[in-house]
């Protein structure tokens, strides 16, 4: 690990000033990802700004939304009564991620900002456009069993398939995407709210960038607006072992049902793209319909038409289809 300077701001404003005044400096919270990256020489910030003691841990329900501080621990959020009651999808996704020990350290903000676990990104001896822009994507012609199957989407444009085929590793973010969460960000130009769909980037010309955060900006909270999905939501994670493994594919499915019919539907997929992948058309396809395996199969296959496999991950197209069907069935309560 390269030597670095440790800074400890007293307030959010001081933290932001430190980050603004020290280009290259990084915030550190739980450190469950950044410390690994530093040990391996993938990240080498000259200065670390420790934000752990800033007052950003609170989880509260105000007006029409659940507001969760960026420093709230993954484990605290997952077992918070308000979260479990109002947004069970989020609690399920959190518990599907990492291990108990990691969840006790990792924060909501850190979870949003964790970096891909692509092996090429992690190995300095191998090419990686995300780690070293222009060096090439090691995974594209290499070992890509766990890599992306969705690339372009929804008018973002400018996509270059070969720039990076890594996937976003978070489970929590998949649920947050389905729940249309807002991310509250504070920075040199003040506070702003970013919708989940606009928070992470697809792999465009700049795969080294994971998000649209601006220099110096600090995550302070997330906000989940109340919804009617609590009774019919399910997070399904398919992985190579029973726990403590990143998703091959994950599905956050949320339905609003009444009188045996679906009246609102949201879905996001994990392990399939450079960011949590939102299935935008699902609401249109399910609204007003009675749930059935056949319907869910059609709906799943529809979205998979735009999927594109690399050499070793063709199985993900079928697996994602199956996982969508399974998650929808569970969410809808049909077996």
């Amino acid at each position: 690990m390269k030597p670095f300077q440790y800074l400890r701001p007293k307030t959010v404003q001081e933290a932001i000033s430190m980050a603004t005044d020290n280009p290259g400096a990084q915030y550190i919270a739980g450190g469950t990802n950044l410390v690994d990256l530093m040990k391996r020489g993938i990240a080498s910030p000259p200065k670390l700004i420790d934000i752990n003691h800033l007052p950003l841990k609170k989880i509260e329900h105000r007006y029409d939304r659940l507001r969760i501080g960026a420093l709230a621990l993954n484990s605290d959020v997952a077992r918070h009564k308000g979260v479990v009651a109002r947004q069970p999808l989020l609690a399920q996704a959190l518990l599907a991620g990492a291990s108990g020990q990691l969840r006790n350290m990792a924060t909501v903000g850190g979870n949003l900002l964790q970096r891909t676990r692509c092996s090429y990104f992690y190995d300095l001896a191998l090419p990686c456009n995300k780690r070293q822009p222009g060096s090439g994507c090691g995974a594209e012609g290499g070992v890509n069993r766990t890599h992306a199957i969705f690339f372009a989407g929804n008018g973002f444009g400018g996509y270059e398939a070969s720039s990076c085929i890594a996937v976003h590793p978070s489970d929590m973010c998949v649920a947050l995407t389905a729940l249309e969460t807002n991310v509250v960000v504070n920075g040199p130009e003040g506070e702003r709210r970013v919708m989940m769909k606009d928070f992470h980037r697809l792999s465009t010309q700049q795969p080294e960038l994971d998000t649209y955060l601006r220099p110096g900006e600090l995550l302070t909270a997330i906000e989940v607006v109340d919804n009617a999905f609590a009774k019919h939501s399910h997070y399904l994670k398919v992985r190579d072992r029973a726990s403590y493994a990143f998703a091959l594919v994950s599905v956050a499915a949320a339905l609003q049902m009444d009188g045996g019919r679906i009246w609102d539907a949201r879905m996001a997929l994990g392990g399939v793209a450079h960011k949590p992948w939102r299935y935008w058309a699902i609401d249109l396809m399910l609204r007003g319909q009675a749930p059935s395996e056949k319907l869910f199969q059609e709906v799943a296959e529809h979205e998979m038409q735009s999927a594109e496999a690399t050499a070793q991950n063709a199985f993900k197209i079928k697996l994602t289809t199956n996982a969508m069907v399974a998650a929808l069935k569970t969410a809808a309560g049909i077996s």
């Binding site: 690990m1 001896a125 398919v238 199985f315 697996l319």
Partner: protein, 745 residues
Amino acid sequence: MKRQSWDNPSDTSLTRVDGAAKVSGGATYSAEYAIPELVHAVLVTSTIAKGSITAIEAHEAEAAPGVLAVISHLNVMTVPGWPAKKQPAERAQVGTALRVFYDPLIYFDGQPVAMVVAGTHEQAVHAASLVCVTYRKESHQTDFEKNAGKAAVPLNVQRSGNSPFKDYERGDAAALRQAEVKIEAEYIIPTQHHQPLEPHAIIAVWEADDKLTVYDKNQGVKSVQGQLAQAFKLPRENVQVVARYVGGAFGSGIRVWPHTLAAVIAAKQVKRPVKLVLGRDQMFTSVGYRPYTVQKIGLGASADGRLTGIVHEGTGQTSMYEEHLERTVLASRALYACPSVLTRYRLLPLDVNTPTWMRGPGDATGMFALESAMDELAFALKMDPLDFRLKNYAESDPERNLPWSAKSLRECYELGAEKFGWKNRMQAPRSVRQNGMLVGYGMASSLYGFHRHPSKARAVMQADGSVVVQSATMDIGPGTGTAMTRIAAKVLGLNAKKIRFELGHSALPDAPGQNGSSTIPSVGSAVHDACEALKNRLAALAGDMEARFRSGGQAVVRNGQLFASEGDKDGLSYADILKHHHLNELEVTGESKQGAERDQYSMYSFGCHFVEVQVGELTGEVRVTRVVTCADVGTIINYKTARSQSIGGVVGGIGMALMEESVMDHRFGRYVTSDFASYHIPVHADVPPIEVYYIDKPDMLADPIGSKGLGEIAIVGVAGAIANAVFNATGKRIRHLPITPDKLI
């Protein structure tokens, strides 16, 4: 031959004698010795798979804070036991262990090319990142499938007239072709790594110019002592090796690897004690692995289920500079009664580091294939897989035409089947569903050859009647000290608390390394014999005291006392015997080795596993939900630690079957799964209830304690049983491990 069990039920078992120390931080592992003046080393490893080093730019590293030296082939000392270097360097002959920093040649990705020594570990890590190595690359071959055609009879076999790895044939080679029912299939296991949680580590201390002590993670202190003495041309006794605690090894610590030599070299060059701990990623290329192996099996049977022919061919990968041979195809010769058997074993040299023995070496690999094939043939025959095995039960060793010294495999099958409820299994795949999951049941047999090596043990009785027993044996996790304590306690009629067993130091009496399930038969026998000798000495001394002890051979021991006969009510305490003779201590050393019985009997451990799996029909995820494992390994010395060992073997088998796979990007010849995020081993949630049963019948032909060793057989066959259960659940036969979701959807 049945005699009263040593240890059943479990509540009479000894709890691990060093358990409290291990869980409370009281046990000192190799990297944890507080040595004055200690400095820290970090290896720099190659990033190409084949070629040579053209330059090493180390100025920046040498100038970094705390750095004492950057050692490479450019400035390394001459290792006196190694041949003089050739100029220009020539590629090593097959059979040469990799000599670290010897010349600029690169044999595999991850090979040590330099080592930084610094005041702290952090300084060494940082400086290592500043060392810049440039290479001249040569094209490499690491892809087994692409190079399969280059597989050949091992040189080892070509050079030796009587290798067990020679092609083998009995009966009629055409039998398989003419069989009424037959199957032929190819089975693949990928490269898998031991990855014990404790990484390999060493502290090397030159006590004087010609005196070396190493605190080294390994599985055999005497073997490390011998090899270091040879390399540095020192008298054996000038080298001491300490490894009192080992945090798992599974075979990775049997050999002396390049990093061990590197640390010893560095300590000599910087004239300070040097500590080297391998990084998790370095563990993938430094201490061996279970080799990628492709097997072809053909099995034929008569319509009523009698095996008529077995053909088993196996090819394992090895390095370009060494051959690693293992028993991959050997089980097929001995396990079942079959008149015609043909086996062939080949090696495929690639630009990789040398594989090594990993728990159940060869047998775990070969039995995955054989036991999968047996299941396939049973299915083709429409026979229950267990009935099929019973029908082909070998009453004597069909390979060597010798009687078994003991074999209770039939009892294993019966007990395992009963405890598991095997009779309720449906033969047709996809018959059972639970909670939306497909449920399947599978079983497999296991066997493992018996290994017993000459071993010594010293037993020293103290004035208070307590005993210290010593042997240079090891404990890589099974609980050696506990088992030896139990043997000594049994022979001497002493409470286990009055016995202390010492191991893991090369100054102790000679013992083999801990491998091949040989520790209990070898060292256990030596401890038994030493304690018997001690008992006889005590009886002789007692005879000097009282006439009733002079009858000879009748004395019995209980509660630290000697009695003249079974019915004798008045005993003489050991302490009193020593006191009477003015002895402060009483010492005997026993040596134990195999006799001629090895040539008259065939000796194996046997066992079987029954497995239940659940498979997500849509997701392809396999969860093992229940395991019953049953072993016939002779006497169970200490049930509690034995059970742990069996459980560990099953967990290893779950990893082997469902998740462990070291994946290489062959464009670079480099692993891309070199951490625990991508190289999956089972976590708690993958481990179901595991029921362990033993036949516990002594095999007194094997050794004086009737015990045959358990460590290896615990894993052998598990992967096959799981694959068979997956077939029963899904109707899909997965012949290429690991069985991941992509293969089942």
